[in-house]
């Protein structure tokens, strides 16, 4: 394992992780969920916690706590055309930046970042700001996301009910 401070963003392993995170952001803004779910490993978790400090996600209430089964059902929900919130979802544009590599090895990069998402729907823009942590598994057969944790700045407050994904 390499110390975070000594690994520059130009490190090829880090650059691969950043590239994957950016690719994910674009797929989510395009609502291309079928392709998006392929970015995840079978054992990956996709998590939007409520408690800003917790790492005990299974033991606490989250906004999203998805394993592969839940992710697959969620993609079905977002794409099948029966969920009125998804059919009429806000358009989103998100920026992911302020990358900090937390741990870097030849097989895994843990990457912290900031995400600012603007959602537009019916004459109104909502801002969704979050700290994000991706655990990216590096592999010659394709890099994949093994965990994503999205910590909204207002996770303990009331957010709008959303028809899109963070």
């Amino acid at each position: 394992m390499t110390d975070t401070i000594t690994v520059p963003l130009t490190d090829v392993r880090v650059a691969r992780a950043v590239e994957l995170v950016w690719r994910e952001a674009e797929l989510l803004d395009r609502k291309d969920y079928l392709v998006w779910q392929e970015l995840y490993t079978d054992d990956a978790r996709y998590i939007v916690p409520i408690d800003p400090d917790t790492e005990d996600f299974p033991g606490t209430l989250n906004m999203i706590y998805d394993d592969a089964r839940m992710r697959a059902m969620r993609v079905t929900r977002m794409t099948e055309g029966y969920a009125i919130a998804a059919v009429d979802a806000a358009r989103t544009v998100r920026t992911v930046s302020r990358f900090v590599p937390e741990t870097v090895t030849d097989t895994e990069v843990v990457l912290r970042s900031a995400q600012v998402l603007i959602a537009y729907k019916r004459g109104r823009h909502d801002i969704w700001a979050a700290d994000v942590r991706h655990r990216v598994r590096l592999s010659d057969s394709g890099d994949r996301i093994a965990e994503k944790v999205v910590r909204l700045v207002d996770s303990e407050d009331a957010v709008p009910a959303a028809g899109f994904l963070l």
Binding site: N62, M63, Y65, A85, D157, A158
Partner: protein
């Protein structure tokens, strides 16, 4: 309703089978609701498990007014206006916690857990002009039933138990989902929608929308769960009006009283791992009780005006403005030994699946409510219909007006109470 509904008093905008769309859009009506309803009746503020010991507190609202619900050293519950008696600063901005009392951050006036003014810094300036005993925090009357804590601004109102009336039986039944253990709050989701609070009040007693709005959720659950919720054509699935605006909607009648169990209903296979884990320490009957209650009770109890006890959670509404409402979906589960963690983890997952702001149910509900608010801007003189099932509504043996679960009996009950309170002088 007359031809020009804008000349009508609010109470005249509610008829037995319809209400004016203006009820969702008129800011003046909203202001009257805040004083005539939310400052005059019992408003839900907490579950007792949120205040587990001396000094614990939570911040919340009664109508639009911020309050602190606290438990003092003797165990008594208080609901205090979250406003310093000196210059009006809020005393507490923490959603929950533990404290010895509350000290204003502005000039350090300090108050006890029961709201008594304890100390004023540099008190010599107040000699002869103020007496501490007159400057306690404003306190609301606070009573609880079955663990549900309510507060009211109205000192002369009937006792909470009387206000709940026939709803008490259902409240008692709801708490049986603890499977022999008390109920505790496990966490909560909060979200806002851009619509009037009454749109949400109606929704928890609206069986009619379920298979349409929640089609994507139905498609995502196993066949057993979907089958359990197929109440649309089940004649045994009924709604009762319980008096004082309260109603109960029984979607899964065989789960209305969880103690009534002849043992014939198989436990859902999806909970096999829970059964296996619990069986290490509990006997079969205890396991069955906990697992059978995994989805909560089979009914929604709607308590006028701001809380419903729905299936496996509490749904609390807070009116913010005529066209904005905040909703809390509070997850609950049995409060027992660590061996029950497997139950509560499963209940958290079920809650996340439907109830969160990214759940498979809530965003679709919120979209429906948003649409009602937007549509009601068109011709606010046109009525909102609450007449479904009026022709088949009959009093049952308890004298409760009763009709099918998809009928609007509960909404009519809530609007009768609304009309009564809005016409009271």
């Amino acid at each position: 309703m007359t031809e020009n509904i804008f000349a009508d008093a609010p109470a005249d905008l509610v008829l037995a089978d319809r209400v004016a769309g203006r009820l969702y859009t008129d800011p003046e009506i909203f202001e009257q609701e805040m004083t005539r309803i939310f400052e005059r009746t019992w408003v839900w503020v907490a579950h007792e498990s949120e205040l587990p010991g001396p000094g614990t507190f939570k911040s919340t609202y009664v109508g639009r007014q911020p309050v602190i619900v606290s438990r003092d050293r003797k165990g008594a519950l208080h609901t205090l206006l979250n406003r310093c008696r000196h210059r009006g600063a809020s005393l507490c901005e923490k959603p929950r916690g533990k404290a010895n009392g509350f000290t204003c951050p502005y000039h350090a006036w300090s108050y006890g857990l029961d709201g008594t003014l304890r100390g004023i810094p540099y008190p010599d300036g107040y000699e002869g002009v103020a007496d501490k005993k007159d400057l306690s925090l404003r306190k609301l009357r606070t009573e609880s039933y079955g663990g549900m804590v309510f507060a009211t601004f109205d000192e002369g109102i009937e006792p909470l138990a009387d206000f709940l009336g026939d709803a008490k039986l259902w409240l008692d039944r709801f708490m049986k989902q603890g499977g022999g253990y008390p109920i505790k709050v496990l966490g909560k989701h909060q979200f806002r929608f851009r619509g009037n609070w009454k749109i949400q009040l109606e929704n928890t007693t609206d069986g009619y929308h379920f298979p349409i709005v929640h089609r994507s959720w139905m498609a995502s659950v196993d066949a057993e769960t979907a089958d359990m919720m197929s109440f649309m054509t089940d004649p045994a699935a009924i709604t009762h009006a319980l008096g004082n605006g309260h109603s109960v909607m029984q979607m899964v009648p065989e789960h209305s009283d969880l103690d009534a169990d002849d043992g014939s209903e198989p436990l859902q296979a999806r909970f096999d791992h829970v059964v296996a884990e619990l069986s290490k320490t509990l006997d079969d009957a205890a396991v069955r009780k906990l697992v059978r209650a995994m989805h909560g009770t089979g009914f929604n109890l709607n308590l006028f005006p701001n809380v419903s006890m729905s299936a496996a959670f509490f749904r609390v509404l807070r009116p913010i403005s005529v066209d904005e409402t905040l909703i809390e979906h509070i997850a609950i589960g049995p409060d027992g030994p660590p061996e029950l963690d497997v139950v509560n983890r499963e209940r958290l997952r079920i809650h996340e699946h439907f109830q969160g702001p990214f759940g498979f149910g809530t965003p679709d509900d919120a979209e429906g409510w948003d649409r009602v608010q937007r549509g009601a801007q068109a011709a606010p003189d046109m009525p909102i219909l609450v007449n479904r099932g009026l022709g088949r509504e009959k009093d049952d043996e308890h004298g409760w007006p009763t009709a099918h679960v998809t009928d609007e009996t509960g909404m009519r009950a809530a609007y009768r109470m609304w009309k009564q309170m809005m016409s009271d002088d």
